[in-house]
C-alpha cells in the first residue's frame, strides 16, 4: 500500500552552509530497514528537485535508526544572503515527510 513517509518516520531539518540537512528517524527497526533501502540520495534529490539545486549526500546513523541527508545548494544562497522565505531549510523535514512510499500491506505504521 502507498502511505505517507510520516507514518514510518519523524524528521527535523536546519541549515548547513548554503544547503540544509534533514535527519529522518524511523519509528521501528523494520521501518529503518525499509528506509535504508528506499531513501537513496537519488530518490531524495528527485523529491526536492525544485528546491535542491545541488547533490544530495546520505549518512547512516543506525544507533538512532536515522538517515541524515545533506541537500546541497537548497537555500537560495543561504543564511543572510538569501531572499527566499525558507533561507534556513526549516521546512525541508516536513517536505520530506510528505513523500509517499510503498510498504507491504501488513507493515506496522504510526
Amino acid at each position: 500500500m502507498r502511505v505517507s513517509l510520516s507514518r514510518l518516520a519523524h524528521a527535523r531539518s536546519g541549515d548547513k552552509g548554503d544547503g540544509s540537512n534533514v535527519g529522518l528517524i524511523a519509528y521501528t527497526d523494520e521501518g529503518y530497514a525499509l528506509l535504508r533501502e528506499l531513501m537513496t540520495p537519488e530518490v531524495v534529490k528527485a523529491h526536492f528537485s525544485a528546491i535542491c539545486k545541488g547533490s544530495v549526500d546520505r549518512y547512516e546513523v543506525p544507533n538512532l535508526r536515522a538517515l541524515n541527508f545533506i541537500l546541497h545548494d537548497s537555500l537560495g544562497g543561504g543564511g543572510t544572503e538569501s531572499v527566499i522565505t525558507d533561507a534556513q531549510g526549516k521546512t525541508h523535514a516536513q517536505g520530506l515527510l510528505l513523500m509517499e512510499i510503498d510498504v507491504p500491506d501488513d507493515f506496522e505504521l504510526k
Binding site: S6, H10, A11, R12, G14, D15, K16, G17, N21, G23, I25, H47, F48, S49, A50, I51, Y59, E60, V61, P62, N63, L64, A66, N68, I70, G76, G78, G79, T80, E81, V83, I84, T85, D86, K90, T91, A93, Q94, G95, L97, L98, M99
Partner: protein, 452 residues
Amino acid sequence: MGRSVRIGNGQGFWGDSIDAPLRLFRGGPIDYVTMDYLAEVTMSIMQKQKLRNPERGYATDFVQFVDEVLPDLKKRGVRIIANAGGVNTEACRAAIMESAKRQNVSGLRVATVSGDDILDRLDQFRDSGVRLAHMETGEGLFDADRKILAANVYMPTDGMVRALDEGADIVITGRCTDPGLVLAPVLHEFKLDGWDGIALGTVAGHILECGAQSTGGNFTRWWEVPDMAGIGYPIAEVSDEGGLVITKHEGTGGMVTVETVAEQLLYEMGRPDHYITPDCIVDFTSIKIAQDGVDRVRVSSVKGSMPTETLKVSISYLAGYKATGQLVVSGPDALAKARLCAQVVWDRLAMSGCHFDDTHEECLGVGVVHEGIVPPAENAPEVVLRLGVKDVDRAKVDRFGKEIAPLVTSGPPGVTGFAGGRPKAQEIVAYWPALIDRKLVRSEVSVVEVGS
C-alpha cells in the same frame, strides 16, 4: 550514589524567549544557566554598534536578565555562562558590575573570556601569509578586496573552564561554540579524563544548544506536546560517573522523549561520525539514548577523539544589498492576479532603468516552500505575494521598495495588506568560513570581583 550537577540552557539563539532563562533559573533546582546569543550575523551587527558607541557591541538582553536574578544568584549558588559578550566582553561586564553595585550585591565574581575577535589582527595575518582560505572554495580571504565586518574564532572551552576554576559566578564570553557553553561547566566540575568524557559534555551541549528544540519544540508530532506555551527549557544532568540525562523542570510544559532528543541530535548535522568541535571530534553513530522515566532521557556510550590542529573562523563581509516586500492578493483568480502584480513591478522597474543582480518572487499560500512536492494550489482564495531583489547598488534596491505600494491603486483589484512602510535596502552580510592554526589564538581570561 555519585555527585551530579544540573546545567540548563535558557536561550537557544539571539531573539529567543526573554522569559525562558528566568523560568529556568526560578523553576526548580539548577546549578548552571547557559545562554547562547550569537548567531553568525550577530557579530557584524555588534561590530557596527561598537563602532558607533564604544560602550556597546554585546547582548543587552543578557544584562536585563542578570539584573533580575542578581539578588538570588549567590544565595542559590547558581552560575551563569553566556556568550553575551559579543565583540565587547568588557563593556558587558561593566554593565553587570554597575547593576551589582546598584543592588548592593557584593562578592560577585564576573569573568570575561576573549581572544576570539581577530578583526584587528587581519592585516597582520595577511602580511605574514595567513591566507584564511574559504573552506568550500579554497579562495584566500585577501585575494580580492572585501569590506570585512567581523572575524571571530570559534574558541575552545579552556578559557571558560579557567574562569569557572577561578570562582566566576558569571562567565561572559565572545564567540565560542554553542555546545562549549555546556561542556565548560562539565569539565570544570568533573575534570573528565579522555576524549569520551569531553565528547559526552559536547553532546550534552549539542542537545541543549537550541533551547526548547529538545523539549518538544519543533517536534514532528506537535499534537502530542503538552502545554507548549509553558514549554520547559532543557537541562543536562551530568554525574561524576559520566552519566548524562536530558530533562526539564517539573511542572513545565513540553516533553523530553527519545524522539524529541533524537531529532535534536541530528539537527544541523553534517557527517555524523565526525562532528568537529574545537575541543574534540564526536562520533554521533556511537551514542545510545533511552527513556529513563518521565521527561528523562539517558544518553550514553559517547565516543570522542582528539580535535584538529585548526579552529574555525567565522568572517563576515559586505556583499551588496537586498530588500523584500509583500502584498496580499485576494478574490477570484488570486494567484493569476498576484503573478500579474509581480510582472507589473518588474516591468515598471525596468522602465525606470533598474535591473538587478537577482530577483525573486513567491506566491505564499500556493505551496512555495514545498515547491515541486505539493501541487500548486491554483484556486487559493488569497495569496501573499512576496518579492525580493539583490544588488550591489543600494539606491536601486531602495528604488524597488518604492514600487510595491502603488500596486494597491494601479494594479488588479483585491490587493491589500501593504503595511509597515516601504521596504528599505538591507546590507547583505555574507560569510567566509575559514580555518586558522590554533597556535595563533589564545583564550584570555579576566575575573573581577564586585567591590574589589
